[in-house]
Amino acid sequence: MDRRKFLKLAAISATLAGGVPGFFNREVKAKAYTPPPGALTARRWGMAIDIKKCWEHPECNDCIKACHYIHNVPHIPDRKREVKWIWKDEFEHVFPDKPNEFNNILLAHKPFLLLCNHCEHPPCVRVCPTQATFKREDGIVMMDYHRCIGCRFCMAACPFGARSFNWVDPRPYIEHFNPEFPTRMKGVVEKCLFCYERLEKGQIPACVEACKHKALIFGDLEDENSEISRLLRSRFSIRRKAELGTGPSVFYLIG
């Protein structure tokens, strides 16, 4: 074997050996952190609320009860300190730019279901100084309560009032708690997280599951064949304050 051939062979063997785990590179192990198998994934999660079905059952609050129970959301009677992830409000407050004096008979004082809109361009994320709130690749605007310093910039930035601040320790206000989910502490901001902890176990959000009238539809907005995409193509829907350019991912089916 001449020198030229020897060098070629050596180079090829070194390349091969480097690529095989456990041959030369003994320290290479299995990847220590992996996403959970069986998790629900999407390119952009979104929700549609069939508001007509909601109006047919005005007494039904199953979605709110389910969400607030499983996430240990406290019930604080004082309105100034209340914490809410999903709640109802009147048409005039939800769509302040939409009412007119002639269709008021149809819509005035009608309840709408509200939650965090999980915006495409969330202003809360832009202003957070600690990146405690951030947008995941699947469109969920997440909260990392470990990092929240309670500055409330996000609350000032959110045009939908979807965030609540814990003015007091929330624990005494939780009658029945869910031991599987943490509570929050005094001094952090909280909001709806689209049930990220259920999605990673392969379950749909609690409010959607709890709704016995099927008024809430959850799915991938970027998947053309998902139920939510088909509904949004076939029916008229509105979004809250779409003119602000935040790109809400929550749609209200009204037609």
Binding site: T34, P36, P37, P172, I174, F177, T183, M185
Partner: protein, 150 residues
């Protein structure tokens, strides 16, 4: 030296006072805490967990919440669901006998349990402030605690 009859005893008293903790505890041993270990193996070796559990927990919370990585593959290839409440505490099901024994000894007060619920919890306690307020008869309306509407 002027006033040496006062200054020298003063210095001696001062030195004794400052070194009080040293000679008071001299040659005394304090029993090391004995946390109650559950049966079976932890995610990593006992020695590693003893010295590095805080780094591991810190890494876990970032990986799970921020990166969406919920599964931890340990050095011996076993896989674990990353979660304090639904992972660690399924085996270490008594916080007071495991976490607290060492933390109290080391005077470390991590704030994990301000949010995470230890498995032995059956009901949340009244806030400490309200007991203080009751002591001084401050009407709850002023501070907006639970009794506002009840």
């Amino acid at each position: 030296m002027y006033n040496s009859d006062k200054v020298i005893p003063g210095i001696i008293i001062f030195v004794l006072f400052v070194t009080f903790p040293i000679w008071w505890n001299h040659a005394k041993t304090v029993a090391a805490p004995q946390p109650e270990l559950p049966k079976g193996r932890c995610v990593e070796s006992k020695a590693y967990m003893r010295s590095h559990h805080m780094q591991l927990l810190n890494r876990w919370r970032n990986e799970a919440i921020r990166e969406g990585m919920r599964i931890y593959t340990s050095s011996d290839g076993k896989r674990f669901w990353i979660s304090l409440q639904n992972g660690c505490m399924k085996c270490h099901h008594d916080k007071s006998k495991f976490c607290d024994r060492c933390h109290r000894f080391a005077a470390v007060e991590p704030y994990c349990w301000n949010c995470h619920i230890p498995p032995e919890t059956k009901k949340f306690e009244e806030p400490r402030a309200s007991r203080l307020l009751r002591l001084f008869h401050v009407p709850p309306k002023l501070v907006g605690t639970k009794n506002t509407e009840e």
